[in-house]
């Protein structure tokens, strides 16, 4: 199927109107020697055949495991209304709202999304979205470099390794110096951060909760960071903000994060949603689209893309970022999700996650040989020490129907026996108890 409506007769009419004898003539500018050396693509199939084939492939994925894996990407329930509304093609088959008069639906939705991100983080200004939590953190780091004119960045190693490696990859030609500071007793090591903090430091980057699941209050660090004129950046898990102290209350200058947990399917790694929010004084350094409210000729409220002088299509090589397409549809999902959950529901969701994880801790504590790490409070994710190599235990648990957690040894040296366990609101009491029982069995065998 090629979805082309032209009949043979219409094609002839169009060719005649153009004044050429055939379609080939329209491609005459392409020299003969540049014609394809090969174009070995299978012929097309019917919709039915393609769907059947892809159903077959989808069944080769194991999505029937009871999931206790998180690591920054979470298995939350998505209300049906999110799919129904984001699935309206008046949203998803539009593009960037360059023409505001015929794009008010999108522009208002993005303005509302920006408000949600500001509410969650406590900060003043959000953009319209970035690709994911990792690129959002990179954009934040670059903002700090531009705002301070400095090139040294201190990163707490509680920040997701995936994001740290992305930061290093993107800046590998920019002579930016990164210093990683250790996690001690589950939390960011103040002493080490302060040791490196100086008037050459552009930013300190932390994560809350950190990769081990530990919750922190970074207010003390932020105070020190500001003494040196550096910026404080936090990568945060939005669902936790239904309970935890938001970045702005700690004094953070920039908050970023992965918005996948707000109504976006796991979908094997994307599309996801990067969010970024900043203090008002930094807004002109923000990357990407921003929507603002204004009025029309009759003084009626309307919304437009604004502060565009920052962007690549205007400023080209001097733009704050190269981003053009963003993750608008995922931002819309996050907006619909948070609107449905609402003020009270979002708090309840956070509480449910916290309580279920605490229950799982108590259940796992009873498994012989398993030690739950309790050096710092956690939200819905925590670390356990196993009597065996965590990789092997995970492998055994897969056979018992559980994706039982993420082996920390994959990301951290010397933690081969440690497992990161995540418990969202979707995990029932029975599943948690079965998980503990199966773990007991897996450790015995």
């Amino acid at each position: 199927m090629n979805y082309i409506p032209h009949t043979e007769l219409e094609k002839k009419e169009m060719l005649k109107s153009i004044g050429v004898s055939g379609v080939d003539e329209l491609f005459k500018h392409i020299p003969k020697e540049l014609r394809p050396r090969s174009f070995n693509i299978p012929e097309g199939k019917s919709e039915f055949e393609v769907i059947e084939y892809l159903k077959l492939l989808s069944r080769k994925n194991a999505t029937n495991l009871t999931n206790f894996v998180g690591g920054g990407f979470y298995d939350h329930y998505i209300p049906a209304a999110v799919d129904a509304l984001a699935g309206r093609s008046e949203f998803y088959t539009a593009y960037t709202p360059y023409q505001p008069e015929c794009s008010q639906g999108w522009l208002q939705a993005i303005y509302e999304y920006q408000t949600v991100i500001c509410e969650l983080t406590g900060l003043d200004v959000s953009n319209a979205s970035l690709y994911d939590g990792g690129t959002a953190l990179y954009e934040a780091a670059m903002m700090a470099v531009r705002l301070t004119g400095r090139k040294k960045i201190i990163v707490d190693s509680g920040v997701n390794l995936i994001y740290r490696t992305m930061l290093y990859a993107y800046t590998s030609n920019l002579s930016i110096e990164f210093i990683e500071t250790p996690v001690v007793h589950g939390q960011a090591c103040r002493e080490d951060i302060y040791k490196h903090l100086d008037d050459q430091t552009a930013a300190v980057i932390v994560q809350n909760p950190n990769f081990f699941g530990a919750v922190d209050d970074f207010s003390d660090i932020v105070q020190q960071v500001h003494k040196y004129g550096a910026l404080a950046i936090a990568s945060v898990y939005p669902v936790s903000l239904g309970m935890l102290k938001p970045p702005a209350e700690m004094g953070m200058d920039i908050a970023t994060g992965e918005g996948q947990s707000l109504g976006i399917p796991l979908s094997f790694g994307g599309p996801y949603l990067g969010f970024i929010a900043v203090k008002k004084e930094h807004m002109r350094q923000l990357p990407g689209r921003i929507v603002g409210a204004t009025v029309d000729k009759d003084d009626k409220r309307g919304f437009v893309l604004t502060l565009q002088a920052r962007e690549q299509h205007i400023r080209r090589e001097r733009a704050t970022s190269n981003i053009c397409s963003n993750e608008a549809l995922c931002a819309l999902r996050a907006l619909i999700y948070t609107s449905l959950l609402g003020k009270a529901g979002f708090q309840k969701l956070a509480k449910l996650n916290y309580q279920k994880a605490e229950f799982a801790k108590s259940a796992l504590d009873k498994v012989s040989g398993v030690k739950v790490k309790r050096s710092a409070p956690t939200f819905n994710e925590f670390t356990v020490c196993l009597p065996k190599n965590a990789d092997e235990v995970v492998c055994r648990m897969i056979n018992k129907g559980f994706a039982c957690g993420f082996p920390l040894g994959r990301f951290y040296k010397g933690l081969d026996n440690y497992l990161l366990v995540t418990v969202t609101e979707k995990r029932t009491k029975e599943e948690i108890l079965q998980f503990a029982n199966s773990l007991e069995a897996a450790l015995c065998s």
């Binding site: 097309g44 919709e47 008046e90 994911d132 979908s267 733009a319 959950l341």
Partner: protein
Amino acid sequence: MQLIFEKSRPGREGFKLPEIDIPIASDMPAKYCREQPASLPEVSELDVVRHFSNLSRLNFSVDTNFYPLGSCTMKYNPKFTEKVASLEGFSDLHPLLPQLLGGGMLAQGSLEVLYNIEKLLSEITGMSAFTTQPLAGAHGELTGVMLIAAYHKHNGEQRKHVIIPDSAHGTNPASAAIAGYKVVVIPTDKDGFLDLQAYKKALNQETAAVMLTCPDTLGLFNPKIKEIADLAHGVGALMYYDGANLNAILGKCRPGDIGFDVMHINLHKTFATPHGGGGPGAGPVGVCEKLVDFLPISRVIRRADGTFALDYRKHKSIGYIAPFYGNFGVILKAYAYILSLGKSGLVEASENAVLSANYCLERLKNYYAPAYGKSCMHECVLSAEKQLEQGVHALDIAKYLIDRGFHPPTIYFPMIVKEAMMVEPTETESKETLDAFIEAMIEAAVLAQTNPEVLHQAPLSMPIKRLDETKAAREPNLRWQSK
């Protein structure tokens, strides 16, 4: 329309969560908790459904309106691809699963999709290998420039600049600059092509790469493209192909055969995945043989036993540019689209895209000055320069088109064309749609002569009239706040 926040009523709820059925543990210590809950809306499910249903109706979209937004390839997005992406076996898969010991077997279906589309994209473009990781076109550009930098570094060379034509998308210079390169801009000659003299002058041992769009943003195929590539290679520079306009040349020529070393594809353009109101897109990057080892971690490989796995060996890799394997949901839709069209369908897509664009150009060229030349590839660039004599701008014509039910073409791009209007009709629009659009464009040209005020007032049929963009920028109001 009221904001969702303005519809909020204290105490109203829109979603029921499961009750807590477990013993309650002690609360999170207060020092870690927020003082005030986030002021999210307090609305019912119906409030939410009606709000967003009505908001959606305020948008022009491909499914409701002709959307000839040049450079964006707003073709029809087949519905069955949405169904494919929502199959639970794909949508519920956690990306960390294949990174567990023995976990590769849990994701065989998705790994196969990635492996297969990489092979298909390689064959379509003539490149040696692809990575599906880049999350959008511009992200692909950045990845591409990083690959180029890594390649030169590996060869012990410190090259300093990237050559980019003045007609390029703004993302090209922005991507090169944030990857650490100086940008050297080459002007366009009188025929709309890269000025060869200026190009030769700028090209030297410090040139890391030449970034080109082909056909270019003026809708023209540069017949000297091979010579340009050879000259770059002669000084050791690499050729970057911006795949934004790939929809013009499927089966007609391949960037790899021309001599491009790195390229990205906008899956949301050529391969028909929805643009999502600004995204998500996907920008897979293809490379020639000598750059394969530099591709981002991880790579999907096929084992001897026919199973698929992730290769995390570093080789000379630039490292991680995305958290996982790309915008998988988008990649999946593009894969389904390619399987559906197949070889003939892809070639027909390009042929008809080019046919439709030339038809528009031919029928409009007496009313609006074509930017360059008498024919085009998949899009045509017209100028409202003639209309400017009557005080009518491209913007006025765009707004008039809105009143006529058409999404306007891209305007004021390429920047080198005065009062530019870039029309990309795509292959999926019928002749009667094209004719209706052409009639509206002609009427606008006539009105510019007879009654320009109508154009200046447009649009009048939308919920709002023209907005005060200066006020928006001078007095930024970027979020709602309760009074």
